[in-house]
């Protein structure tokens, strides 16, 4: 009994997404809700039956068989749906019994990748893409998604509902994009996975295990792209390398109380060496072809951050990479990080001079950076800047960290 209670949520996480993807491909994406309902019903029946009769020998196979039967039942019961859909299902047979519901490993993997491309369609708003990915590709509950976004169930449900409407409006299907469209669509998938990872890595949610789950899921999905010949591009490998390097510091960046520990104060022994090595492997694999993308540069920056040497060379490399990254794509975070690297590689005076040109007065991190740069040069100014940063910080966690910094300055 206890065993069942633990097993079902686990199987829900791993099998829900597979069954939904396969059934959606069979029905057409417009009917994704029916695929979800059938899959949910299957898990409901599993909870009832296994609780009473004990676990079947092969729980996953049991789920697949029940899902297949429920699908056939559904098609039989709903003559209207039957007439409408069976024509759309690309099978020559019209008899329900003959419809093959292909839950083979190959079709599961293909269906999930195609689902990923469908969900990450540019016509769907990005936050809906992330929510939708968590639901359909990662099997997250609505509660968990709401928690990750610091939102509520109603908002998330609305977002997912609108995303499904878009799928119907745009008549999106679960086929591979054409060769002409492939790069653009692949880029859209990577952007979503990148944001999904960041959502976990930088999220303000206090739920550390949930945040870690988000990162793990983003990495799993990115990894699945490297497993497929079509999608195993240098860019995908660069993104996976980036994720490996960042997540190597997951344990080191918060303490037991969940407080943030800044990079230069982290215990380097807690950096995960296995993940760093994996990152190096994927970074190596990404270094083919002539196309240097934002992910390549970010992965290289992340690589240098995994190096424990404190010399100027490391910061000089990081500075030069940020110089290139900013030329590819500007972002306030990259601008701030570049200025910090400049301080470390060259000197603090120069960095202050450059920081004052950034004009990011709405960003608390801008003042935190100025505070940090002034500490050794002008303590009064350092304190003033930290005070503004505290005022502008949005979360209590950020405010607490900055207050600690301010308190450490002694005149």
């Amino acid at each position: 009994m206890e065993h069942t209670e633990l097993l079902i949520p686990h199987l829900f996480r791993t099998e829900f997404r597979k069954i939904v993807s396969v059934l959606s491909k069979l029905f057409g994406l417009a009917y994704i809700e029916i695929a979800e309902d059938i899959t949910s019903d299957t898990f409901l029946l599993a909870a009832e039956t296994w609780g009473k009769k004990g676990l079947p020998e092969n729980p996953t196979a049991w789920l697949y068989t029940v899902a297949k039967n429920k699908t056939k039942d559904y098609l039989k019961r709903n003559q209207l749906f039957n007439k409408k859909i069976v024509e759309e299902i690309k099978y020559t047979s019209t008899s329900v019994e003959e419809i093959e519901i292909d839950l083979s490993n190959k079709n599961i993997i293909d269906s999930q990748l195609q689902m990923m491309f469908a969900i990450c369609h540019p016509s769907i708003p990005i936050e809906a893409q992330i929510g939708f990915s968590l639901r359909i590709l990662c099997g997250f509950g609505i509660d968990e998604i709401a928690d990750a976004f610091l939102s509520n169930k109603e908002t998330i449900n609305k977002r997912l509902f609108r995303a499904k409407e878009k799928l119907r409006e745009e008549k999106l299907n679960m086929e591979w994009p054409t060769i002409n469209e492939f790069d653009k669509r692949c880029q859209a998938v990577l952007t979503t996975l990148y944001l999904l990872f960041n959502e976990g890595y930088y999220s303000a949610s206090q739920n550390r295990s949930l945040r870690k789950d988000l990162c793990v899921e983003a990495m799993r999905l990115t990894y699945s792209l490297t497993e497929n010949e079509k999608t195993n591009t240098p860019n995908v490998n660069a993104l996976l390398a980036l994720m490996c390097f960042h997540s190597s510091r997951f344990e080191a960046r918060t303490n037991y109380e969940g407080e943030m520990i800044l990079y230069h104060e982290q215990d380097e022994m807690l950096w995960n060496k296995e993940l760093i090595q994996k990152g190096e492997l994927y970074l190596h694999k990404s270094a083919v072809g002539n196309n240097i993308t934002k992910f390549h540069i970010e992965a290289a920056i992340a690589y240098w951050h995994t190096q424990t040497n404190k010399n100027k060379e490391k910061w000089e490399k990081i500075l030069q990479l940020y110089n290139v990254l900013l030329q590819i794509e500007y972002s306030p975070m990259a601008a701030l990080n570049r200025t910090y690297a400049l301080a470390k590689a060259d000197n603090y005076e120069k960095a202050i001079n450059e920081a004052l040109k950034l004009k990011l007065e709405n960003n608390h991190l801008y003042f935190a950076l100025l505070g940090e740069l002034y500490v050794k040069i002008d303590k009064q100014k350092a304190m003033e800047n930290f005070a503004i940063a505290i005022e502008k910080a949005k979360t209590l966690q950020d405010k607490a960290l900055l207050k600690k910094k301010l308190a450490e300055i002694t005149l």
Partner: protein, 114 residues
């Protein structure tokens, strides 16, 4: 914001062959300067020009070298985004060409609606 082009000009330095260290240092200076513009979100695009060039004249005569009859050659350009020409000139401060005996010409880019 409007777009401006900065053109880097300097007198050619004969047969000057920089050492690898000098090359490295020069790349850093340029990259740090451009990175500083990019960090302000004001970077457009840039290109460094090489040393091979030919000049075509109206009478069909082709001469070797970009600097046949000029004292200075164009070494490269950068396109930046700035509020106005004064703002663009401010960005030109610190350009490495200024420390190499050269100068920066800042020009507005005309928007022509066709």
């Amino acid at each position: 914001m409007k777009e401006f082009m900065m053109i880097f000009r300097m007198a050619p330095i004969g047969d000057f062959q920089p050492t690898p260290e000098q090359m490295q240092e020069s790349i850093k200076q340029w990259q740090d300067w451009i990175g500083g513009i990019a960090a302000q979100g004001k970077f457009g695009s840039t290109n460094q020009l090489g040393f091979t060039g030919k000049t075509l004249k109206a009478d069909g005569v082709i001469t070797d070298g970009p600097y046949a009859e000029v004292k200075e050659i164009v070494g490269g350009y950068i396109i930046v985004k700035a509020d106005d020409i004064d703002d663009a000139v401010k960005l030109a401060n610190g350009c490495p060409i200024l420390f190499m005996g050269g100068h920066v010409e800042v020009r507005d880019i005309m928007q022509i609606d066709l």
